[in-house]
Protein backbone atom coordinates (compact mmCIF):
# COMPACT_ATOMS: atom_id res chain seq x y z
CA UNK A 1 0.00 0.00 0.00
CA UNK A 2 2.79 2.34 0.97
CA UNK A 3 4.53 1.45 -2.28
CA UNK A 4 1.37 2.20 -4.19
CA UNK A 5 1.02 5.60 -2.53
CA UNK A 6 4.63 6.39 -3.32
CA UNK A 7 3.97 5.34 -6.88
CA UNK A 8 1.00 7.69 -7.14
CA UNK A 9 3.08 10.46 -5.62
CA UNK A 10 5.86 9.83 -8.13
CA UNK A 11 3.39 10.03 -11.01
CA UNK A 12 1.90 13.25 -9.58
CA UNK A 13 5.31 14.84 -9.10
CA UNK A 14 6.33 13.74 -12.58
CA UNK A 15 3.16 15.32 -13.96
CA UNK A 16 3.82 18.59 -12.17
CA UNK A 17 7.42 18.64 -13.36
CA UNK A 18 6.37 18.09 -16.96
CA UNK A 19 3.77 20.86 -16.57
CA UNK A 20 6.40 23.17 -15.17
CA UNK A 21 8.73 22.40 -18.06
CA UNK A 22 6.00 22.56 -20.68
CA UNK A 23 7.29 23.73 -24.01
CA UNK A 24 6.72 27.44 -24.57
CA UNK A 25 4.37 27.65 -27.53
CA UNK A 26 1.64 25.31 -26.37
CA UNK A 27 -1.05 25.35 -23.70
CA UNK A 28 -0.34 22.80 -20.96
CA UNK A 29 -2.70 19.87 -20.51
CA UNK A 30 -5.67 20.57 -18.24
CA UNK A 31 -5.93 24.25 -19.19
CA UNK A 32 -8.82 25.75 -21.19
CA UNK A 33 -8.05 28.56 -23.65
CA UNK A 34 -9.69 31.91 -22.83
CA UNK A 35 -8.39 33.60 -25.99
CA UNK A 36 -9.37 32.13 -29.36
CA UNK A 37 -6.35 33.45 -31.29
CA UNK A 38 -8.58 35.30 -33.76
CA UNK A 39 -10.46 38.08 -32.03
CA UNK A 40 -11.21 39.51 -28.56
CA UNK A 41 -14.45 37.62 -28.01
CA UNK A 42 -14.79 37.04 -24.27
CA UNK A 43 -12.77 40.17 -23.44
CA UNK A 44 -13.64 43.84 -23.04
CA UNK A 45 -11.97 47.17 -22.27
CA UNK A 46 -12.31 48.73 -18.86
CA UNK A 47 -14.03 52.08 -19.33
CA UNK A 48 -13.18 53.33 -15.85
CA UNK A 49 -9.47 52.63 -15.45
CA UNK A 50 -7.18 55.64 -15.16
CA UNK A 51 -4.80 53.93 -17.59
CA UNK A 52 -7.05 54.93 -20.49
CA UNK A 53 -10.33 53.79 -21.99
CA UNK A 54 -9.54 53.66 -25.71
CA UNK A 55 -6.35 51.60 -26.06
CA UNK A 56 -5.50 50.00 -29.40
CA UNK A 57 -6.10 46.41 -28.33
CA UNK A 58 -6.31 43.96 -31.19
CA UNK A 59 -5.26 40.52 -32.44
CA UNK A 60 -2.20 40.33 -34.67
CA UNK A 61 -0.53 37.12 -35.83
CA UNK A 62 -2.61 35.12 -33.35
CA UNK A 63 -1.60 37.27 -30.37
CA UNK A 64 -3.47 39.81 -28.25
CA UNK A 65 -1.56 43.01 -29.00
CA UNK A 66 -1.72 46.03 -26.72
CA UNK A 67 -0.68 49.43 -28.03
CA UNK A 68 -1.50 52.94 -26.94
CA UNK A 69 -4.22 55.02 -28.54
CA UNK A 70 -4.25 57.96 -28.69
CA UNK A 71 -0.70 58.97 -27.68
CA UNK A 72 -0.16 58.45 -23.96
CA UNK A 73 -3.42 56.60 -23.28
CA UNK A 74 -3.18 52.94 -22.29
CA UNK A 75 -5.85 50.74 -20.82
CA UNK A 76 -6.85 47.44 -19.31
CA UNK A 77 -8.27 44.49 -21.27
CA UNK A 78 -10.48 42.33 -19.06
CA UNK A 79 -12.07 38.92 -19.37
CA UNK A 80 -15.86 39.07 -19.40
CA UNK A 81 -15.87 36.25 -16.83
CA UNK A 82 -14.70 36.38 -13.23
CA UNK A 83 -12.50 33.70 -11.70
CA UNK A 84 -12.05 32.77 -8.07
CA UNK A 85 -9.38 30.09 -7.59
CA UNK A 86 -7.37 29.39 -10.69
CA UNK A 87 -4.14 28.80 -12.51
CA UNK A 88 -3.53 31.13 -15.41
CA UNK A 89 -1.12 30.23 -18.20
CA UNK A 90 -0.03 32.67 -20.87
CA UNK A 91 2.93 33.53 -23.02
CA UNK A 92 4.08 37.11 -23.28
CA UNK A 93 6.42 38.96 -25.62
CA UNK A 94 7.02 42.46 -24.35
CA UNK A 95 8.93 45.43 -25.74
CA UNK A 96 11.40 47.10 -23.40
CA UNK A 97 10.56 50.36 -21.60
CA UNK A 98 6.85 49.56 -21.78
CA UNK A 99 5.11 49.05 -18.45
CA UNK A 100 2.25 46.61 -18.33
CA UNK A 101 1.03 43.78 -16.20
CA UNK A 102 -1.15 40.75 -15.67
CA UNK A 103 -4.12 41.61 -13.41
CA UNK A 104 -5.53 38.99 -11.06
CA UNK A 105 -9.05 39.12 -9.59
CA UNK A 106 -9.40 42.53 -11.20
CA UNK A 107 -12.40 44.76 -10.66
CA UNK A 108 -14.02 46.54 -13.60
CA UNK A 109 -11.89 49.66 -13.02
CA UNK A 110 -8.70 47.62 -12.84
CA UNK A 111 -8.12 47.37 -9.10
CA UNK A 112 -6.13 44.15 -8.82
CA UNK A 113 -3.20 42.09 -7.66
CA UNK A 114 -0.67 42.47 -10.45
CA UNK A 115 2.28 40.58 -11.89
CA UNK A 116 4.37 43.37 -13.38
CA UNK A 117 5.66 43.28 -16.97
CA UNK A 118 8.47 45.76 -17.48
CA UNK A 119 11.89 45.45 -19.06
CA UNK A 120 14.70 45.80 -18.35
CA UNK A 121 13.57 45.66 -14.69
CA UNK A 122 10.43 44.75 -12.80
CA UNK A 123 8.98 41.80 -14.70
CA UNK A 124 7.53 39.11 -12.45
CA UNK A 125 7.20 41.33 -9.39
CA UNK A 126 3.94 41.10 -7.44
CA UNK A 127 2.32 44.50 -6.89
CA UNK A 128 -1.10 46.04 -6.37
CA UNK A 129 -2.82 48.15 -9.00
CA UNK A 130 -4.92 50.87 -7.32
CA UNK A 131 -4.71 48.53 -4.35
CA UNK A 132 -2.17 48.77 -1.54
CA UNK A 133 -1.34 45.08 -1.09
CA UNK A 134 0.05 43.68 2.14
CA UNK A 135 3.02 41.88 0.68
CA UNK A 136 4.83 42.70 -2.54
CA UNK A 137 7.38 40.19 -3.88
CA UNK A 138 10.23 40.48 -6.37
CA UNK A 139 11.08 37.87 -8.98
CA UNK A 140 14.77 37.87 -8.16
CA UNK A 141 15.53 34.75 -10.27
CA UNK A 142 13.96 36.02 -13.45
CA UNK A 143 17.21 36.64 -15.34
CA UNK A 144 18.11 32.94 -14.97
CA UNK A 145 15.24 31.83 -17.19
CA UNK A 146 14.21 34.93 -19.18
CA UNK A 147 14.52 34.76 -22.97
CA UNK A 148 15.09 38.35 -24.18
CA UNK A 149 13.12 39.43 -27.23
CA UNK A 150 11.18 36.17 -27.27
CA UNK A 151 8.04 34.55 -25.89
CA UNK A 152 8.17 33.74 -22.19
CA UNK A 153 5.68 31.53 -20.34
CA UNK A 154 3.92 32.69 -17.16
CA UNK A 155 1.96 30.39 -14.92
CA UNK A 156 0.21 32.02 -11.97
CA UNK A 157 -1.80 30.27 -9.30
CA UNK A 158 -4.18 32.25 -7.11
CA UNK A 159 -6.46 30.69 -4.54
CA UNK A 160 -8.13 31.33 -1.21
CA UNK A 161 -10.23 34.10 0.30
CA UNK A 162 -6.96 35.35 1.71
CA UNK A 163 -5.00 35.15 -1.51
CA UNK A 164 -2.22 32.57 -1.88
CA UNK A 165 -0.24 33.36 -5.02
CA UNK A 166 2.51 31.50 -6.86
CA UNK A 167 4.38 32.49 -10.02
CA UNK A 168 6.41 30.33 -12.39
CA UNK A 169 8.22 31.83 -15.39
CA UNK A 170 9.36 29.37 -18.08
CA UNK A 171 8.72 26.58 -15.58
CA UNK A 172 10.87 28.05 -12.80
CA UNK A 173 9.14 29.12 -9.58
CA UNK A 174 9.76 32.80 -8.89
CA UNK A 175 7.84 33.16 -5.64
CA UNK A 176 5.11 31.69 -3.48
CA UNK A 177 3.33 34.04 -1.08
CA UNK A 178 0.20 34.09 1.06
CA UNK A 179 -1.03 37.58 1.81
CA UNK A 180 -1.76 38.22 5.50
CA UNK A 181 -5.26 39.41 4.52
CA UNK A 182 -7.57 39.97 1.59
CA UNK A 183 -6.54 43.45 0.46
CA UNK A 184 -9.53 44.20 -1.76
CA UNK A 185 -11.56 47.31 -0.91
CA UNK A 186 -14.88 45.50 -0.98
CA UNK A 187 -13.46 42.12 0.11
CA UNK A 188 -13.72 40.50 -3.34
CA UNK A 189 -12.74 36.82 -3.60
CA UNK A 190 -13.09 36.65 -7.37
CA UNK A 191 -12.42 38.91 -10.29
CA UNK A 192 -11.39 39.20 -13.89
CA UNK A 193 -8.08 38.45 -15.57
CA UNK A 194 -6.69 41.67 -16.97
CA UNK A 195 -3.88 42.77 -19.27
CA UNK A 196 -2.64 46.26 -18.55
CA UNK A 197 -0.96 48.88 -20.71
CA UNK A 198 0.24 51.87 -18.69
CA UNK A 199 -0.64 55.47 -19.51
CA UNK A 200 2.24 57.80 -20.28
CA UNK A 201 0.75 61.24 -21.01
CA UNK A 202 -2.10 63.36 -19.63
CA UNK A 203 -4.69 65.22 -21.69
CA UNK A 204 -3.06 68.63 -21.46
CA UNK A 205 0.07 70.41 -20.18
CA UNK A 206 -2.36 72.39 -17.97
CA UNK A 207 -2.51 69.36 -15.64
CA UNK A 208 1.07 70.29 -14.64
CA UNK A 209 1.63 66.58 -14.12
CA UNK A 210 4.95 64.88 -13.59
CA UNK A 211 6.22 63.08 -16.66
CA UNK A 212 5.23 59.43 -17.02
CA UNK A 213 6.76 59.15 -20.49
CA UNK A 214 9.10 56.44 -19.23
CA UNK A 215 6.22 54.06 -18.69
CA UNK A 216 5.57 53.42 -22.39
CA UNK A 217 8.02 53.86 -25.22
CA UNK A 218 6.26 55.35 -28.27
CA UNK A 219 5.10 52.68 -30.70
CA UNK A 220 5.79 49.86 -28.20
CA UNK A 221 3.62 46.78 -27.74
CA UNK A 222 2.91 43.92 -25.37
CA UNK A 223 1.75 40.67 -26.96
CA UNK A 224 0.06 37.64 -25.40
CA UNK A 225 -0.76 34.20 -26.81
CA UNK A 226 -1.84 30.80 -25.54
CA UNK A 227 -3.87 32.44 -22.77
CA UNK A 228 -5.55 29.66 -20.79
CA UNK A 229 -7.00 28.93 -17.40
CA UNK A 230 -7.48 25.99 -15.11
CA UNK A 231 -10.11 26.66 -12.49
CA UNK A 232 -9.48 25.23 -9.03
CA UNK A 233 -12.05 24.35 -6.42
Amino acid sequence: MLFKKKGVLAVLLGGLASLAQAQVGSIPAGFTPIFNGKNLKGWHLSRTTHQGTTGNFHVEDGAITLQQHPYGQGGVLLTDRKYKNFELYLEAKIDSFCNGGIFLRSTESGQAYQVELMLPQGTGNLLGEMLPISQSVQATNLAKVWKPGDWNAFRIRMEGEVPHLTLWVNGEQMWDVTQPKNDFTAGATEGMIGLQLHWSAVYSPAARAFSMAGSWKPGGAHRFRNVAIRELK
Binding site: R47, T48, T49, H50, Q51, T53, T54, H69, P70, Y71, G72, Q73, S96, F97, T107, E108, S109, Q111, M130, T185, A186, W199, A201, V202, Y203, S204, P205, A206, A207, R208, A209, F210, S211, A213, G214, K217, P218, G219
Partner: protein, 269 residues
Protein backbone atom coordinates in the same frame (compact mmCIF):
# COMPACT_ATOMS: atom_id res chain seq x y z
CA UNK B 1 -28.92 99.61 -1.30
CA UNK B 2 -26.88 96.49 -1.51
CA UNK B 3 -23.40 97.09 -2.91
CA UNK B 4 -24.01 94.64 -5.75
CA UNK B 5 -27.19 96.47 -6.79
CA UNK B 6 -25.30 99.72 -6.68
CA UNK B 7 -22.68 98.28 -9.03
CA UNK B 8 -25.35 97.00 -11.36
CA UNK B 9 -26.92 100.43 -11.31
CA UNK B 10 -23.66 101.83 -12.57
CA UNK B 11 -23.58 99.22 -15.35
CA UNK B 12 -20.50 97.56 -13.86
CA UNK B 13 -22.14 94.17 -13.29
CA UNK B 14 -24.05 93.02 -16.37
CA UNK B 15 -25.51 90.09 -14.46
CA UNK B 16 -29.15 91.04 -13.90
CA UNK B 17 -30.57 87.62 -14.83
CA UNK B 18 -28.29 86.05 -12.25
CA UNK B 19 -29.40 88.36 -9.47
CA UNK B 20 -33.04 87.95 -10.40
CA UNK B 21 -33.14 84.37 -9.12
CA UNK B 22 -31.79 82.57 -6.11
CA UNK B 23 -28.37 81.12 -6.80
CA UNK B 24 -29.00 78.20 -4.47
CA UNK B 25 -32.02 76.09 -3.65
CA UNK B 26 -32.85 73.40 -1.09
CA UNK B 27 -35.72 71.01 -1.75
CA UNK B 28 -38.12 69.32 0.66
CA UNK B 29 -35.78 66.44 1.44
CA UNK B 30 -32.77 68.64 2.02
CA UNK B 31 -31.06 68.25 -1.35
CA UNK B 32 -29.05 71.42 -2.00
CA UNK B 33 -28.62 72.86 -5.49
CA UNK B 34 -26.48 75.53 -7.11
CA UNK B 35 -27.81 77.52 -10.05
CA UNK B 36 -25.63 77.32 -13.16
CA UNK B 37 -25.95 80.10 -15.72
CA UNK B 38 -25.68 79.67 -19.51
CA UNK B 39 -22.28 79.90 -21.17
CA UNK B 40 -19.78 78.25 -23.46
CA UNK B 41 -16.87 75.85 -23.19
CA UNK B 42 -14.59 73.80 -25.43
CA UNK B 43 -14.93 70.03 -24.98
CA UNK B 44 -12.54 67.35 -26.20
CA UNK B 45 -9.38 69.40 -26.46
CA UNK B 46 -6.49 66.91 -26.42
CA UNK B 47 -2.93 68.21 -26.34
CA UNK B 48 -0.86 65.41 -24.78
CA UNK B 49 2.54 66.61 -23.61
CA UNK B 50 5.50 64.59 -24.88
CA UNK B 51 9.13 64.70 -23.77
CA UNK B 52 11.76 66.50 -25.79
CA UNK B 53 15.37 65.44 -25.88
CA UNK B 54 17.33 67.14 -23.14
CA UNK B 55 14.25 67.90 -21.03
CA UNK B 56 13.54 64.38 -19.85
CA UNK B 57 15.69 62.72 -17.24
CA UNK B 58 16.23 58.96 -17.05
CA UNK B 59 14.52 58.13 -20.34
CA UNK B 60 16.34 55.44 -22.31
CA UNK B 61 14.98 56.72 -25.62
CA UNK B 62 16.78 57.12 -28.93
CA UNK B 63 16.42 60.17 -31.19
CA UNK B 64 13.97 58.12 -33.24
CA UNK B 65 11.83 57.52 -30.12
CA UNK B 66 11.61 61.25 -29.37
CA UNK B 67 10.70 61.96 -33.00
CA UNK B 68 8.03 59.24 -32.95
CA UNK B 69 6.57 60.61 -29.70
CA UNK B 70 6.26 64.05 -31.29
CA UNK B 71 4.74 62.59 -34.45
CA UNK B 72 2.15 60.52 -32.54
CA UNK B 73 1.25 63.30 -30.09
CA UNK B 74 0.78 65.74 -33.00
CA UNK B 75 -1.21 63.19 -35.00
CA UNK B 76 -3.59 62.51 -32.11
CA UNK B 77 -3.99 66.08 -30.80
CA UNK B 78 -7.40 67.66 -31.19
CA UNK B 79 -8.57 71.28 -30.75
CA UNK B 80 -11.93 70.09 -29.38
CA UNK B 81 -15.28 71.61 -30.23
CA UNK B 82 -17.38 74.47 -28.81
CA UNK B 83 -20.38 73.64 -26.65
CA UNK B 84 -23.04 76.16 -25.74
CA UNK B 85 -25.05 75.74 -22.57
CA UNK B 86 -28.14 77.62 -23.64
CA UNK B 87 -30.31 77.29 -20.52
CA UNK B 88 -29.66 77.75 -16.85
CA UNK B 89 -30.15 74.78 -14.51
CA UNK B 90 -29.70 73.81 -10.91
CA UNK B 91 -27.26 71.02 -10.14
CA UNK B 92 -26.68 69.13 -6.89
CA UNK B 93 -24.13 70.82 -4.65
CA UNK B 94 -23.26 67.31 -3.42
CA UNK B 95 -23.52 63.75 -4.66
CA UNK B 96 -26.85 62.19 -3.66
CA UNK B 97 -26.39 60.75 -0.19
CA UNK B 98 -27.52 57.44 1.24
CA UNK B 99 -29.94 59.32 3.55
CA UNK B 100 -31.56 61.03 0.56
CA UNK B 101 -31.75 57.77 -1.40
CA UNK B 102 -33.41 56.01 1.56
CA UNK B 103 -35.90 58.87 1.96
CA UNK B 104 -37.02 58.58 -1.65
CA UNK B 105 -36.64 54.83 -2.26
CA UNK B 106 -37.13 53.31 1.19
CA UNK B 107 -34.10 51.08 0.66
CA UNK B 108 -30.31 51.33 0.36
CA UNK B 109 -28.16 49.07 -1.79
CA UNK B 110 -24.87 50.83 -0.98
CA UNK B 111 -21.90 48.60 -0.17
CA UNK B 112 -20.25 51.14 2.11
CA UNK B 113 -22.69 51.32 5.03
CA UNK B 114 -22.93 49.79 8.49
CA UNK B 115 -19.65 48.30 9.68
CA UNK B 116 -17.99 49.01 6.33
CA UNK B 117 -17.58 52.70 7.21
CA UNK B 118 -16.58 54.56 10.30
CA UNK B 119 -19.31 56.84 11.57
CA UNK B 120 -22.73 57.42 10.06
CA UNK B 121 -23.06 56.24 6.45
CA UNK B 122 -26.05 58.52 5.84
CA UNK B 123 -23.83 61.35 4.62
CA UNK B 124 -21.82 59.06 2.33
CA UNK B 125 -22.87 59.08 -1.31
CA UNK B 126 -25.23 56.35 -2.36
CA UNK B 127 -23.44 53.82 -4.60
CA UNK B 128 -24.01 50.43 -6.14
CA UNK B 129 -26.80 51.99 -8.21
CA UNK B 130 -27.20 51.36 -11.92
CA UNK B 131 -28.27 54.01 -14.40
CA UNK B 132 -31.69 52.33 -14.51
CA UNK B 133 -31.94 52.41 -10.68
CA UNK B 134 -31.28 56.16 -10.83
CA UNK B 135 -34.14 56.65 -13.31
CA UNK B 136 -36.49 55.02 -10.78
CA UNK B 137 -35.17 57.33 -8.06
CA UNK B 138 -35.79 60.35 -10.28
CA UNK B 139 -39.31 59.26 -11.13
CA UNK B 140 -40.10 58.97 -7.42
CA UNK B 141 -38.40 62.27 -6.58
CA UNK B 142 -40.42 64.02 -9.30
CA UNK B 143 -43.62 62.57 -7.77
CA UNK B 144 -42.54 63.66 -4.30
CA UNK B 145 -41.68 67.21 -5.37
CA UNK B 146 -44.64 68.19 -7.50
CA UNK B 147 -44.08 71.08 -9.89
CA UNK B 148 -40.34 70.52 -10.20
CA UNK B 149 -38.41 68.54 -12.81
CA UNK B 150 -35.45 66.48 -11.69
CA UNK B 151 -33.20 64.45 -14.00
CA UNK B 152 -29.59 63.44 -14.49
CA UNK B 153 -27.34 66.13 -15.97
CA UNK B 154 -26.33 65.73 -19.58
CA UNK B 155 -22.60 65.11 -19.90
CA UNK B 156 -22.09 68.68 -21.12
CA UNK B 157 -24.09 70.12 -18.21
CA UNK B 158 -22.07 68.02 -15.79
CA UNK B 159 -18.73 69.03 -17.31
CA UNK B 160 -19.67 72.71 -17.58
CA UNK B 161 -20.63 72.80 -13.88
CA UNK B 162 -17.55 70.80 -12.82
CA UNK B 163 -15.19 73.03 -14.78
CA UNK B 164 -16.72 76.10 -13.14
CA UNK B 165 -15.35 78.42 -15.81
CA UNK B 166 -12.00 76.70 -16.40
CA UNK B 167 -11.08 76.59 -20.08
CA UNK B 168 -8.37 73.93 -19.86
CA UNK B 169 -7.57 70.87 -17.76
CA UNK B 170 -7.30 71.11 -13.99
CA UNK B 171 -3.84 71.01 -12.37
CA UNK B 172 -2.92 67.91 -10.36
CA UNK B 173 -2.21 70.02 -7.29
CA UNK B 174 -5.76 71.36 -7.39
CA UNK B 175 -7.25 67.89 -7.97
CA UNK B 176 -5.56 66.73 -4.77
CA UNK B 177 -7.28 69.54 -2.83
CA UNK B 178 -10.70 68.85 -4.30
CA UNK B 179 -10.97 65.12 -4.86
CA UNK B 180 -11.47 62.18 -2.52
CA UNK B 181 -8.83 59.81 -3.95
CA UNK B 182 -6.86 56.86 -2.65
CA UNK B 183 -9.15 56.11 0.28
CA UNK B 184 -10.37 52.64 1.31
CA UNK B 185 -14.07 53.50 1.25
CA UNK B 186 -16.41 56.23 0.08
CA UNK B 187 -16.26 59.40 2.19
CA UNK B 188 -18.95 61.70 3.60
CA UNK B 189 -19.86 64.27 0.94
CA UNK B 190 -18.53 67.81 1.14
CA UNK B 191 -15.29 67.20 3.03
CA UNK B 192 -12.85 68.53 0.42
CA UNK B 193 -12.46 71.92 -1.25
CA UNK B 194 -15.41 72.85 -3.51
CA UNK B 195 -14.91 74.03 -7.07
CA UNK B 196 -15.17 77.71 -8.03
CA UNK B 197 -18.96 77.49 -8.31
CA UNK B 198 -19.42 75.82 -4.93
CA UNK B 199 -19.88 72.18 -6.00
CA UNK B 200 -18.31 69.45 -3.87
CA UNK B 201 -16.82 66.10 -4.89
CA UNK B 202 -17.26 66.55 -8.62
CA UNK B 203 -13.90 64.76 -8.77
CA UNK B 204 -13.31 61.61 -6.72
CA UNK B 205 -15.50 59.93 -4.09
CA UNK B 206 -17.92 58.21 -6.52
CA UNK B 207 -18.23 58.16 -10.29
CA UNK B 208 -21.35 60.04 -11.36
CA UNK B 209 -23.87 58.83 -13.92
CA UNK B 210 -24.97 61.34 -16.54
CA UNK B 211 -27.87 61.09 -18.96
CA UNK B 212 -25.85 60.33 -22.11
CA UNK B 213 -25.07 57.10 -23.89
CA UNK B 214 -21.38 56.22 -24.29
CA UNK B 215 -19.79 56.54 -27.74
CA UNK B 216 -16.71 54.35 -26.94
CA UNK B 217 -14.38 57.26 -27.80
CA UNK B 218 -11.93 59.38 -25.80
CA UNK B 219 -14.41 62.26 -25.60
CA UNK B 220 -18.08 62.91 -26.32
CA UNK B 221 -19.25 63.66 -29.85
CA UNK B 222 -20.27 67.29 -30.55
CA UNK B 223 -23.80 65.93 -30.95
CA UNK B 224 -24.09 63.29 -28.24
CA UNK B 225 -24.77 59.77 -29.45
CA UNK B 226 -28.39 58.66 -29.08
CA UNK B 227 -27.74 54.97 -28.50
CA UNK B 228 -25.13 52.71 -26.97
CA UNK B 229 -24.49 49.78 -24.66
CA UNK B 230 -23.52 51.87 -21.65
CA UNK B 231 -24.03 55.31 -20.19
CA UNK B 232 -21.31 57.85 -19.48
CA UNK B 233 -19.64 58.18 -16.08
CA UNK B 234 -17.83 61.37 -15.03
CA UNK B 235 -15.49 62.48 -12.29
CA UNK B 236 -13.68 59.29 -11.14
CA UNK B 237 -13.97 57.70 -7.71
CA UNK B 238 -12.08 57.15 -4.47
CA UNK B 239 -10.18 54.30 -6.18
CA UNK B 240 -9.36 56.54 -9.12
CA UNK B 241 -6.11 58.33 -9.72
CA UNK B 242 -5.14 61.94 -10.20
CA UNK B 243 -4.64 60.97 -13.87
CA UNK B 244 -8.37 60.47 -14.52
CA UNK B 245 -9.94 62.51 -11.70
CA UNK B 246 -10.37 65.40 -14.10
CA UNK B 247 -13.57 66.81 -15.55
CA UNK B 248 -12.26 65.92 -19.01
CA UNK B 249 -12.45 62.16 -18.42
CA UNK B 250 -15.20 60.54 -20.48
CA UNK B 251 -15.73 57.11 -18.92
CA UNK B 252 -18.59 54.63 -18.90
CA UNK B 253 -20.39 51.97 -16.96
CA UNK B 254 -20.68 49.53 -15.48
CA UNK B 255 -17.70 50.48 -13.27
CA UNK B 256 -17.13 48.72 -9.99
CA UNK B 257 -20.67 49.34 -8.74
CA UNK B 258 -19.53 50.17 -5.21
CA UNK B 259 -17.94 53.42 -6.41
CA UNK B 260 -20.69 54.59 -8.76
CA UNK B 261 -23.28 57.19 -7.71
CA UNK B 262 -24.73 60.40 -9.16
CA UNK B 263 -25.86 63.98 -8.63
CA UNK B 264 -29.10 65.50 -9.82
CA UNK B 265 -30.16 68.39 -12.02
CA UNK B 266 -33.30 70.37 -11.27
CA UNK B 267 -34.61 72.31 -14.25
CA UNK B 268 -35.26 76.04 -13.93
CA UNK B 269 -38.86 77.02 -14.55
Amino acid sequence: MKSSNWLVGLGLLPVLPMLAQTPTFTNSIGMEFVRIEPGRMVVGRFQPPHPKRGEARGLAWTDADYQLAEKLATRDASPGFPVTIARSYYIGKFEVTQAQWKRVMGSNSSVFQGEKVSGNADQHPVENVTWADVQVFLKKLNRLEKGRTYRLPTEFEWEYAARAGADDDIAWAEIRQMAQLGTRTTNPVGQKKPNAWGLYDTLGNVWEWVQDFYNEKLFANPVPTRSGKQHVLKGASFVGDVKNATYLTHAAGPGNGWDVGFRVVMETN
